[in-house]
Amino acid sequence: MKIGDLTELAVRNLREAILRNSLTTLGVAVGVASLVAMLSLGVGLQQFASQRLANSGLFNAIFVASRYNAGEYERRSRQNQPADSSTPARPLDESARREIAGLPNVNEVYPEIRFMTEIRYNDKPYPTMVAGMPDSARTDGAFDGMQGKFFSGPNADETILQIEFAKELSAQPSALIGKDLVLRYAERQALPAQGASKTASAGNRDESSVGGGFSVVPHEEKLRIVGIISTEPEGGFGAFGRSRVFIPLAVAETLSATQVSDLRDVLNGSSKTSSYASLTARVKSPTQVPQVEAAIKGMGFTTFSLLDTTRNLRLFFTVIDLLLGIFGSLALAVATLGIVNTLVMAILERRREIGVFKALGADDRDIKQLFFAEAGVMGLVGGIGGVALGWLIGKGVTLGTNIYLSRQNLPPVNISAVPLWLALGAIAFAIVVSLAAGLYPASRAAHLNPVEALRYE
């Protein structure tokens, strides 16, 4: 039989037992829908998570530390071997920072600057932790959904407040934007005092080396509030963690406020060559992290990146997708049994009809194809319906999640996605599964003995 006649007859046969076949098709649709919903959640979650992670800036960051700070002494004294490579350990100083910044694919190299300080607003003191933000944070997405805007420039005397801190300052945090506050901090000055100003740029660290020590001088800096963020920016290895006031990194560096690491410099005797406790190198994309990391290691530093974590994360999501797929497939497997059942019933009912078909010249293959066509049509219709249904379920779950999130004052997320490949794949899968389900009934129908089917009772 020709394909047109086959589908015509198949559709009319399906319509003849419309209720039963609709229910069977609905079963397929529900099976496909559960599969699509599960996978769309898997895909959506993965997209959501990887986007969040990319935004977090965790995966294009390389944490650089001097080997001195990384237990190098301990290791060298314990075993009589040189540093783990031919390159000797070297201090993480200004020249190293410039050298790392000069490596290909490195966007930015910056130290972690964080210090305790006192904010004065409306003449009331508020002690808090201040962190310097690199300019790259502008695009990191850590500041997505902030009120106000990011620093107008890398050297702007501006600040961004964390919402909880802003609430402490004012009952109406959003009204703070545009207002000024005063930052009081302890300035580190070289000994002997060589000009007690903070006018010098980042180079003032070298000055401190002259005296082999420093003094701490209280200082003030007026800053304009330009933004308020509700989430805590991540920015790599908790560098900005638990800080509640953010200022441009370059500004923070010029302040040369006393930091935690200064004390360590003194203790390990390296203060004569003032160095950074650590630097963060931002690479253009996570894929370039390994090369850059190797280059920095080659320069004689210890590095750390989260690349291995992403690999594990990908594995995690593959396993999640697999599990979701298996659960989704279970419903489809049940639906498959529905198809088998429906078609086997149809054979029993249509025994005589099959006999007549054969008497009128139908081949075994015609009968087989007819049953296949019926299974295929159920698969196609069920597949299309299932994709639509699954998409709706995913949307529903996303909607529900977002209603919940908005109650918690959190930004909306999109955790469900039905990409074209998933939709088409699901429909194709439904057809293939339905045809497989039709395999046994079709061959049984084809081998029906027409003489017995037609015997007059």
Binding site: G4, K358, D366, V451, L454
Partner: protein
């Protein structure tokens, strides 16, 4: 009458169809040899259970003999594969049954179109072929009706149209009047006779009614217990149209 009497349409040669039922062997058809001439109207006469239908189904290619050969147009049905056998049923023979066997959910038009679909006849030609076949049985006005809306005689006429639509040369009828009253049965028999005469169609008709066989058939093959008892050419009283 173009085919004349000289050709042989079907030749059955020592044909048997045995069924093994546990220990018992049922000889539904047992060593039957029979020739049906082209353009002949042959009646297979016998009591119930004598093996008439089994023999007819063998001639129709719906069943295969356990022994022997059935030769049609130089080809042995017993040696054909299932696909060739299906083509044979589709194009060379037409069948009608006691139970009519129209498909209840299809209209007459669709029922008659079915053999055309199976024979992969062009869609464009089908409507005309269906109409022509229904005209032969005077049902052209009932195209859109379903079998349940027809009388028994009309249903059997529709079944005849369906058997004819692929223009076969052989018509095999299994008790075609068995479900009909005598007047309606007569109608059907007259149609068969006209197909035999005007189209030269070879007809093999199974019946258990001797008078019917004697009135319409050229020859009567009598079957009992699966065996061919006799083949008689009846006096040409009713058969005045026999080819000369």
């Amino acid at each position: 009458m173009s085919q004349g009497n000289n050709g042989v349409a079907i030749h059955a040669d020592n044909v048997s169809r045995h069924y093994q039922m546990g220990a018992a062997l049922i000889r539904a058809v047992d060593d039957v040899s029979l020739s049906v001439g082209a353009g002949e109207f042959l009646a297979l006469l016998g009591s119930s259970g004598s093996g008439k239908s089994t023999l007819l189904n063998l001639l129709a290619g719906l069943d295969r003999p356990t022994a022997g050969a059935i030769v049609v147009r130089g080809r042995n049905l017993a040696e054909m594969d299932t696909h060739e056998l299906a083509r044979y049923r589709s194009l060379t023979v037409g069948m009608v049954f006691q139970a009519f066997n129209l498909l209840p959910r299809m209209t007459l038009e669709e029922n008659v179109e079915l053999p055309l679909r199976l024979a992969e006849v062009d869609r464009a030609d089908r409507a005309a072929r269906v109409r022509e076949a229904l005209e032969h049985v005077h049902l052209e006005k009932r195209l859109a009706h379903r079998p349940s809306e027809l009388s028994g005689g009309e249903q059997q006429r529709a079944a005849l149209a369906r058997a004819l639509v692929n223009r076969p040369t052989i018509l095999l009828a299994d008790e075609p009047t068995g479900n009909l009253d005598s007047a309606t049965g007569e109608e059907i028999m007259l149609l068969l006779k006209s197909f035999n005469q005007s189209m030269g169609m070879t007809i093999v008709m199974v019946t258990h009614e001797r008078p019917l066989a004697e009135r319409f058939a050229h020859r009567i093959a009598t079957v009992a217990d699966g065996k061919l008892i006799s083949v008689t050419t009846k006096p040409a009283t009713e058969c005045n149209h026999e080819n000369r």
